[in-house]
């Protein structure tokens, strides 16, 4: 039997959902794999919904909103872009970035709706089943995905992403324009750091461990693991447990 991917669609009420309805009214045929969750605006799609779906083994997630400038809520779809960008950045760590997509379909684009959905389903078919679907999920990827979900949900990431549009689009609190490049460097670093930190956290949740062994387990340079552990310590999430020989063991609090 050929692979039939499970795909979840988030459709904004005003454009994409209407476009999907129009596809129906026009009897435009497309594959059946996508199941739709209606939301009022693509900006409502919290990245955690996407991570949650992927964690359950869903093969692809498609977020659709109004075309830029057409948002019923003025700028909700721009917020969707920043959130989706972060989501995709995070998913690059586990090569899942191609399993999610953000696209625009207006209320009048029934045909286009059929096309983009068909295209996405075919694209996921080509990618094959999600390594964490089925009875024998890839534990390593699953662990990383869990870390991603936690990292993306952290205050820091949400704050950065939440302010991204305003900071880049208009001016910051000092009335200055933030250079996009500078902000991107900052957010890229934050994504990488928070991902690694939450991996460390998850690893320590399973068992207390030393920096050296964590480094081997997570394949991160030990000096960086040490920095992460110390940051987590100041956040009150990790602490020294004991010193074994010459190696300190850290534990999750």
């Amino acid at each position: 039997m050929s692979f039939e991917p499970k795909i979840l669609g988030f459709l904004c009420n005003w454009c994409s959902y209407a476009g999907a309805d129009l596809a129906g009214v026009s009897r435009i045929q497309y594959p059946t794999n996508m199941r739709v969750i209606r939301v009022m605006c693509s900006g409502r799609v919290d990245p955690k919904f996407i991570f949650h779906a992927l964690e359950l083994g869903i093969d692809g997630v498609f977020v659709m909103g109004c075309h830029p400038g057409d948002c019923h809520y003025l700028e909700g779809n721009y917020e969707a872009i920043t959130k989706f960008d972060m989501t995709q950045q995070f998913l690059k760590f586990i090569n899942f970035d191609k399993r999610v997509r953000l696209d625009w379909v207006s209320a009048s684009e029934g045909t286009r709706f059929g096309e983009v959905v068909t295209e996405f389903i075919n694209h996921i078919k080509e990618l094959g089943p999600s390594p964490i679907s089925g009875g024998n999920p890839d534990e390593d990827i699953l662990d990383k995905l869990k870390a991603i979900k936690m990292a993306a949900g952290s205050n820091r990431m949400r704050a950065l992403v939440g302010r991204e549009k305003t900071l880049l689009g208009s001016e910051n609190v000092y009335g200055e324009q933030i250079i996009e490049q500078r902000f991107n460097i900052l957010i890229d670093k934050a994504i990488k750091d928070e991902f690694e930190r939450h991996r460390v956290l998850l690893a320590l949740e399973k068992d207390s461990n030393s920096v050296k062994d964590l480094a081997v387990e997570l394949n991160i340079d030990p000096s960086i693991v040490l920095e992460h552990v110390l940051t987590l310590k100041t956040r009150g999430q990790v602490d020294f447990q004991k010193i074994k020989g010459n190696t300190p063991i850290f534990m999750r609090l």
């Binding site: 309805d21 059946t32 003025l74």
Partner: protein, 564 residues
């Protein structure tokens, strides 16, 4: 929430599922009966049935009966699209005593059977999934209050220029109590400084006197000159405005606000030797006309002085016509005068205006195009300009050099924008809700815009926009009360401790529905909230709940779809 509605949430969750055949639109492809049967085994489903047309009188009666009989407190209809039919079913459950938000729609027609006509099996599976997901969400649905907002049938117009006066006249004539406030000590705005009006060479002062007269004699219209806005609180239908007139404060309560503050003049210091005497602006020229103080014989006008450049990249839209108009005035008084207009592009849109341009050429006004790379250079009594068409430099003697400068945004726009919580665009003009679709609205309900506060416009356009803004405002003012969306975002009591007060939600909300109240707590003004949910998806500590689309509800949908 009424007494009887309360039972909805207190009892155990009992869902009723109604699967619609939609004639043969759904039932023709997949087996709705079995779908309904299967739905019975879903968690919390107390009853399920299939109907030929659930939206028919029979279908609706059947839903009501089932609610009664099976004591249902959630209803799921799997049929067409909520976009057309949700209000119908909401009314139906509401009539049966359920809160209308306890209804959930599953779309198995427009987005299933119609689009998978050749794959009945897969379509059936999809319908199964969709019903399971819809039911899972229904289980988590909560009753929501329906919010009504009273409307104070009065309006405030900020700015007593031609746009503001037009709006004020319109609204007062509709019978709404209207307040018109003007910063200066007299009404009229920019019109006060104009000599003639294009394209018909009307006398500006005549025109102004007429409109002023109308305004001053209008009923329900109170004019406050020498007044400025100090503070604005409240929301659509209920604004509290503090106005300062000559040092004393006046409190106004209004239901809508129109921004018609106009624009300011640009002083071209450092440009083309501007000195206000021999080298003046078009506006100064008009002033001279009024005082009958123009004696020159050789005139040169330069267009686009200080506009369409890097610092001020916009076209001020009125300057070309102004130059033509003033050229006519000169020619009328002194037919032998030499007038040369140096332009970059001449903007004279529409039939009337283009004709105006042709007339000017016929009367002997000389037009020379210059480019940004070779700007005209101004000497004491002549000007050097590179003629692009002829490819050579010309020397033009002048007695009076007239510079066409743009209209610029008022300095205090930022202050007013902050009070109104509405945005400005890059050049500090006010930014409307949507350039094409909502040109005279702000995103914030109950606040509207007209005239050159938004963008430089001529008198005609200003009047049009004044009326337009008034019409938009009257849409709100003509209701005693407004029903606002119940599925709003909210910061529930139990989540208050999660909120750090970071104000990100305030900043992402396009409707200014979120504020920090006097207790220094985040407060969502439900009357303004449209329920888009962006704040909830952004909230750093995930304290904000989007009613009717809660995290919990969406998670249960995702989980009902499942993965493995």
């Amino acid at each position: 929430m009424s007494e009887e509605e309360k039972k909805d949430i207190e009892d155990e969750v009992r869902v009723g599922v109604f699967v619609c055949h939609c004639g043969s639109n759904i039932g023709g492809l997949i087996d709705c009966k079995t779908l309904a049967e299967e739905a019975k085994s879903l968690p919390n489903v107390a009853y399920a049935e299939d109907n030929l047309y659930t939206c028919s009188e029979n279908g609706l009666a059947s839903i009501k009966a089932a609610i009664e009989e099976y004591n249902l407190n959630r209803v799921v209809v799997a049929s067409c699209t909520p976009r057309t039919h949700e209000p119908l079913f909401r009314d139906c459950v509401s009539e049966a005593g359920l809160n209308k938000y306890l209804f959930n729609f599953v779309n198995i027609r427009d987005q299933c059977t119609w689009v998978h006509q050749k794959q009945p099996e897969e379509a059936y599976k999809k319908a199964q999934d969709l019903i399971r997901m819809g039911t899972a969400k229904a289980v988590k649905l909560e009753a929501l209050d329906i919010i009504m907002v009273n409307v104070n049938p009065s309006a405030l117009i900020i700015g007593g220029g031609v746009a503001g006066m037009s709006a004020a006249l319109n609204l007062s004539r509709q019978g709404f109590q209207t307040y018109l406030i003007e910063k200066e000590d007299k009404l009229g705005g920019r019109l006060n400084s104009l000599h003639k009006l294009f394209p018909h060479q009307l006398d500006a002062s005549d025109f102004l006197d007429k409109i002023k007269n109308n305004v001053q004699n209008a009923q329900n219209l109170q004019i406050l000159t020498s007044s400025i806005v100090k503070n604005i609180d409240g929301f659509v239908g209920n604004f509290e405005v503090e106005v300062e007139q000559n040092g004393k404060n006046i409190e106004l309560s209004v239901g809508a606000i129109i921004v018609a503050v106009g624009s300011s003049l640009f002083a071209p210091t450092d440009l083309y030797g501007y000195d206000g005497k021999k080298r003046i602006t078009q506006f100064e020229l008009e002033h001279k006309f009024i005082n009958n103080d123009v004696k020159a014989n050789n005139y040169v006008m330069i267009q686009c002085v200080g506009s369409r450049i890097e610092d001020r990249p916009y076209c001020s839209s009125v300057c070309c016509m102004t130059a033509l108009k003033n050229a006519f005035v000169i020619k009328e008084k002194n037919p032998g005068a030499n007038i040369t207009i140096l332009f970059r592009d001449l903007y004279t849109p529409g039939t009337d205006y283009e004709k105006y341009y042709r007339d000017a050429r016929e009367q002997g006004v000389l037009f020379i195009k210059y480019g940004l790379d070779k700007l005209p250079t101004v000497e004491e009594d002549h000007i050097k300009v590179f003629n692009e068409y002829m490819g050579e430099e010309l020397i033009l003697p002048y007695d009076l050099l007239v510079l066409a400068t743009p209209l610029v945004a008022n300095n205090d726009n930022k202050e007013l924008a902050q009070m109104l919580k509405v945005p400005l665009e890059a050049n500090k003009f006010f930014l409307e809700a949507h350039v094409k679709l909502r040109p005279n609205d702000f995103a914030t309900d109950g606040i509207y815009i007209g005239g050159s506060a938004k963008w430089p416009v001529d008198i005609t356009e200003a009047i049009t926009q004044g009326y337009a803004a008034a019409a938009r405002a009257s849409r709100v003012l003509s209701h005693d009360s407004l029903e606002v969306e119940g599925a709003t975002s909210s910061l529930p009591e139990y989540n208050k401790s999660l909120c750090t007060g970071c104000e990100i939600c305030i900043k992402v909300c396009p409707f200014n529905a979120i504020i920090k109240n006097e207790e220094d707590e985040i407060e969502i003004i439900e009357a303004l909230c449209k329920g888009c949910g962006v704040c909830g998806a952004t909230c750093t500590n995930q304290a904000i709940v989007i009613k009717h689309f809660t995290d919990d509800q969406i998670f249960s949908e995702i989980e009902a779809f499942g993965g493995h």
